[in-house]
Amino acid sequence: MPQTARPAGRQVRTARGAVALAGAAALVGLSGAPAAAATVAQASGTAVRVSVAGNPADSGSFRSTHDGDREQTSGSNRPAVALLGGQDFLTAGTLAQDARTRVQDGRGYTEACAGLAGDGATVVGVGEGTCLRGGQNLQLAAGTLDLAALLDGLGAPAGGLPLPDLPVPLEPGQPDAIAQAFNDAVDRVAAQLGDPGLFVDLGAVQSRCTSGPGTAQGSASIVGARAYAQFQGEQVELVRLPVNPAPNTKVVTDLGAVSEKVRDALIAQFTSGLEGGLAPLAEAAENAAIDAALAQISEQLAPLEQNVLDVTLNKQVRQGADQITVTALDAQVLPVAAEQLDASAVSLQIGESACGPSGQVTTAQPPPTPDPTPDPQPRPEPAPRTPTVVPAGVATAPGTGLSGTGVAALAGLVALALAAGVGRRPGRDG
């Protein structure tokens, strides 16, 4: 994978005299990094990973590392959707993945972002605090629900619908007529609804992370994301995702909305059939027939009531105090549901940003004595040194006129500072 050196930005201060320690090479972990240089900071962004029926594809990653002297990057920060070969789930949209590392005052800092948006989105890069802005909504076809096959199994059993004992006995021929009305209703609904498509709409889905010595943060933004089933010209919403989800927000959804729509259509058709083409049924008999039909329908549509989609939003995994991986959206069609619904198992991760670990530039030291049993575990970087003194009090503000009290106070402070031998920023205390 090609590596390029990115010119230092105005915020990037190159540490002078930084010499890499070979012993820190355990932190490198990146095959493309120079073997002799220790990595002080590292970050990466991966726009999309998708797997359909076990065939994985991804957008590659954009990586940035810093060895204390300069930043090195590899990969593309604006990959084309066409890279995602071997699948037709994701064929349009704008991908973005970016990462940046810098060293300031000898300490490593990182930031990364990654995501997916609709066509027309602007790729703005991690320096802008986000990867993508604007763009149209993107419609992803998650599959087609084989509703016809589901309804095929719904025909009335031989002998008609199992009706309970009725207060008024049915006339001869009525049980068969009820069963026929039910089967007609199923046929009409199957033709009327067709096989609905399952879709996911996305506006912009992206994550971002930052890290520094002893600290790492991440967040995700999800705009205009929802899943729905589309019948002939009509949409039934399954789930709508929150815009700024809390870390590790779980969302599961079933196809209960689809089930409800099918059930309502069947009962409407069945009721119409009972009232239209048959000899008039007593009200009690009609109600019993509808109840029996409902029981039959509910049993057949039961798979739709199971969770089919398992989504984690703003998935955050902390590998250490200064290392985090954030995935904006991690979704999968549950394998069991995929099997029952005859759909492909789809696994989708959008916007994976990884930041850290980030260390500290160390000065040159004599080569250490080789250790015959090197520690296989990389040691975590220490947290930043906390302050032990916070001198946030002064007698008077700089540049202000001194009152008599102020002069006396200043004289006292100067005397105290001199007595204490404090030379730095005299007059500060507390």
């Binding site: 943060q217 991440g218 700024n244 032990t388 003194v389 700089p398």
Partner: protein, 194 residues
Amino acid sequence: MTAALAGLTRLLLAAAAVVAVVLLVLNDDGDEPSAFRSLPPSVPVQVVVPSLGVEAGIDPVAVSADRVLDPPEDVERVGWWDASAAPGASAGQTVLTGHAVHAGGGVLDRLPAVRPGARVDLRTDEGLMRYRVTDVETLGRDEVAARTEELFGQDRGDGRLVLVSCTEWDGAVYRSNVVVTARPLGEPRPAARL
């Protein structure tokens, strides 16, 4: 009859008190999560403490090699320790410090007067992060040094805010620090942005 009315009144008052307590409890523990949402971590640019009349800009400041955290030179601005957690982070502690000026004019002159329950808002490029003050402590220099990891350590905390200034002017110097801690609530949803 009068006694019965008085008894009924007492009963109603007691019931009202119970309802009020229940509502307070619900407001404290039940309403807050729904009134706020998470905010992407970002560098703070402004601090607002309404109860103190504080509204100040923020500059990043660093800890020196000898572990001193100086506020900005401009006593009307507040410093954010640039290695501490950014507002919105779910871990670490966000550390701010600002001057107390004995002659007046320091941005955090009145910090010792803040009370638990007071509101503190930090503005970032991502939005507004709200905190609620939980503790106000006066600590001597030795105590601050001894408790530095607890007060400022970045390997602990849930994104809480730590505000530090000086207090206890003895006629010549400030003898102590005032350390205010506040728990993070999140970004107020539009209806709660009051």
